[in-house]
Symmetry: C2
Subunit: 198 residues, 2 copies
Amino acid sequence: MKHLPDFIQKLIDEFDKLPGIGPKTATRLVFDLLHRQNDIKEFANALNNAYQQISFCPECFNLTDDGLCSICANPSRDKNIVCIVAHNQDVEAIEKTAEFDGVYHLLNGLLSPLEGITPDKLKIKELTRRIEKNGIKEVILALDQSMEGEATAIYLSKLLKDHGVTITQLARGIPMGANIEYTDEVTLSSALKNRKKI
Amino acid sequence: MKHLPDFIQKLIDEFDKLPGIGPKTATRLVFDLLHRQNDIKEFANALNNAYQQISFCPECFNLTDDGLCSICANPSRDKNIVCIVAHNQDVEAIEKTAEFDGVYHLLNGLLSPLEGITPDKLKIKELTRRIEKNGIKEVILALDQSMEGEATAIYLSKLLKDHGVTITQLARGIPMGANIEYTDEVTLSSALKNRKKI
């Protein structure tokens, strides 16, 4: 498509980088967007704001705009219970159940040696430090029921065994192969209630 | 998700406006993007450039960066044959075949009275003006084989009948890779009618 102006091709390339969006979809999205000129401007502003304001909570590594995230900064949340999740979306899903009043710890991924995701790539050192420093009583492993999720859960439960902390994981009931992000609220909420000591 | 920082919610809303992208996908895309900070900046720049540079070819209404589009500005393209398409993507698709050396005319949509897309919403006045002014010999209707595409083709062929211009449309037939068994009756019957000697 060499006759496309450069600025359009560049924009298509940016959309193409997003997960699950290929060049065809990227082209379709760009052409749609280019016909709504106000939206281009607003979209650009939203991205610029995000670029300038984005930061990660120094406590749990969740996305935030400044300093502690709204969950860690909330005095009514129980700082003694930490729910360990892989991704930001998982926090959203669990928050929606309104069943959890503790805090989170984002690993920023799951162990996957084949893809080069080893323990040092995840926020695991930060987790053990946090447990030691804050006297955390319980960690809940809320990880995907996938190979990587299981491997990460086993790794963490071994690692944390000697830290004097109760380790639990979400109750089985979440169907095998499902992602936390897409689990319906009822299943997720009963999985939280029935979490089991391991 | 009231605990999400505003700038994230705003960005999700922008993605949500794109066709075929709902709030769930928008959230997933945004969280992915927010972990690649350089890409946020580049994405914003690409959009800003697009906003500043976008313009439409005054001749064919294709997207361009300045003045005539690269196809209309190309002296080796035959200005006497105009291919009428509904969307920018259709130009891409036809250009890829490298079979067409005429120029295009973008309608910017297809007639759909139920959705309020009447002839005055499309670049039809501009088409008749262009035919009269430039002495165009042939217009090729390259419109989708949908209700709207058919309606637009019928409308245009009636409208252009008295303009002394040859009106053609893309051949109907069996697409590459199709099975006879699963080809619909309309396609098969027109493929039979238009059979070619080999």
